[in-house]
Symmetry: C2
Subunit: 329 residues, 2 copies
């Protein structure tokens, strides 16, 4: 099956130029970089900046806008942005009240963002960071990796972006971000692996009616293959694996994010959403906010992830509901 | 490859329940029907209603909202809604200033919508209709079908919905709709066919690096298979086939819609968007409005369509830009 691309090595630059064409009223690319910035940046608030490898579209440029990110920084496909680009992003926005970096928990991402933070501080910029590690699928030593940052990152963008727009200061934003991350869990499954760019090769192989639990968003296979029975069965399995991470569920409020991983149709996402709805009722989970769509993808992987966020303070819900003009929220 | 569904026969009802769960602040399903209606319907304006078979998500419920549709009516997958559901939709909204039906030009859709219109009129409702036939791929007798209604339908929803919200009366809306339809052309290509629901069978077969020109949104194969060279080559071919339908191009203004057909990644859509941007500049086409995303899909078909709308009156551009809370615009 053909990919509608040109030379693979030109892909990221062409994506960013395409984004800044389609969303030209709001977004512009800083030429020759992976930076997409908001056209109407104000210096009134702390700037929230995020980024990561490409291949996760609409992450992260889809979240640049009023009340979310002030800029996003894209690296090559599945490779974090360079220290230079991250540093330039901080300098481009040049926020007098400081910059908060939202980083997905992958070793190379954390390394580059923290190095850029260090260099920016040496130049006199106020910079803090939050690391998102919502993926709860990796628990055992075999994979040797910590909890990764996946779709729940979008909730962090939204909550911190809204709080910043409302005037929260840098230190309080960092603390809020850490509270949100600690209250959030995501689990994803693939029904087919994504392909490498410009290739028909799938990153891992699944048989028909086989799904992979606990996949990553860089094509990493999951920790276990299982037979697929139905959307309802899958919803039940994902929701229960997430709910065991919370106690006294009936006294709590939750936000949920149902995320398509790239090639999953909206048809499937809405059928799955309906299964989640029925299970939430059955389990007496008080869901106060819900979203479904393609928020954090893994090229053309077909599959779905479910994120649960415990709303520990009602302001979080206000932040989730606050208006934004970011095109992918 | 697995589809994340339950029993195929339950799919449409589960989609509609999923939509009304995820978008519960704005949308509700009329129980036991294919009707999704806006929760905050006012009687101040003419009601715009559209619908069609399922399998085109987010069409059409994704366009229900302030300044677009007041209701959408979904039929079974690739089968138009029943006369009863369409009639009930008109009655549910019960707009004193009248109802305008937007119909995609497929024989069975037109038949059911016009029969519902007739019955509604017999009951005393003011009802008019507009038929959208933007697909310019079918020209020769061999296919025996007229120009079909495809992705451009979403532009008609937006323009008529905004005009209605601004107070335009029923007859003027019908006339505006016909003008917009006459100014619009769409051409789509598939790089892989969609599958039937609950089956792995693809509706038609394409080899690697082969694309099908002029596909329909119900899995219809195109009129010609061609080799795939690059996104840029494809953009050039699609754009030129559309531009020949207009004269004196340099004196005109256009809106464009780049539409993913179901499983096409945003990465591909933005790369293709960038190619279109460069070609528009090269051909000195004055593009004043542009959108890219999954607007009118064909289950999990992978492919893209391009729509060109000549902006014959500047009010059309205002209508396109007017705010709406429909979730898929």
């Amino acid at each position: 099956m053909t990919q509608i691309l040109n030379k693979p090595e030109d892909t990221v630059s062409q994506i960013l130029n395409g984004v800044s064409f389609i969303h030209q009223e709001k977004l512009e690319r800083v030429p020759q970089t992976g930076i997409i910035k908001y056209r109407h940046v104000t210096n009134q608030s702390v700037a929230i900046i995020s980024g990561g490898g490409s291949g996760h579209e609409p992450a992260h440029f889809g979240y640049v806008g009023r009340g979310m990110l002030q800029a996003s920084i894209s690296g090559p496909v599945f490779v974090p942005p360079s220290v230079e680009d991250i540093l330039q992003g901080i300098e481009e926005i040049n926020a007098p009240k400081g910059t908060l970096l939202i980083i997905k928990n992958f070793e190379a991402d954390v390394r580059n963002f923290l190095e850029a933070k260090k260099q920016a501080r040496q130049k006199g910029y106020l910079v803090e960071h939050v690391i998102v590690n919502d993926d709860c699928s990796i628990e055992k030593g075999s994979y040797r990796k910590r909890r990764r940052g996946v779709a729940g990152t979008v909730f962090v963008h939204k909550i911190l972006g809204a709080a910043a727009a409302n005037g929260m200061n840098l230190n309080d934003l960092k603390e809020l971000g850490e509270d949100v991350v600690a209250s959030m869990n995501t689990l994803g499954v693939a029904v087919s692996s994504g392909r490498k760019i410009g290739s028909d090769e799938r990153v891992f192989k699944l048989e028909k009616d086989e799904i992979s639990f606990g996949i990553g968003i860089h094509g990493e296979p999951g920790y276990r293959k299982e037979p697929f029975f139905s959307s309802e069965y899958l919803a039940n399995e994902l929701l229960n694996k997430l709910l065991v991470r919370y106690s006294e569920i009936s006294s709590k409020q939750f936000a949920i994010l149902i995320n398509g991983l790239g090639s999953t149709t909206l048809m499937e996402q809405f059928v799955f959403s309906n299964d989640i709805k029925r299970l939430l009722e059955l389990e007496q989970v008080n869901c106060v906010f819900q979203k479904s769509g393609n928020f954090m993808t893994s090229t053309d992987m077909s599959g779905i992830s479910l994120t649960l966020l415990e709303i520990k303070d009602l302001s979080w819900l206000d932040y989730l509901k606050q208006e934004t003009d970011a095109f992918a929220w």
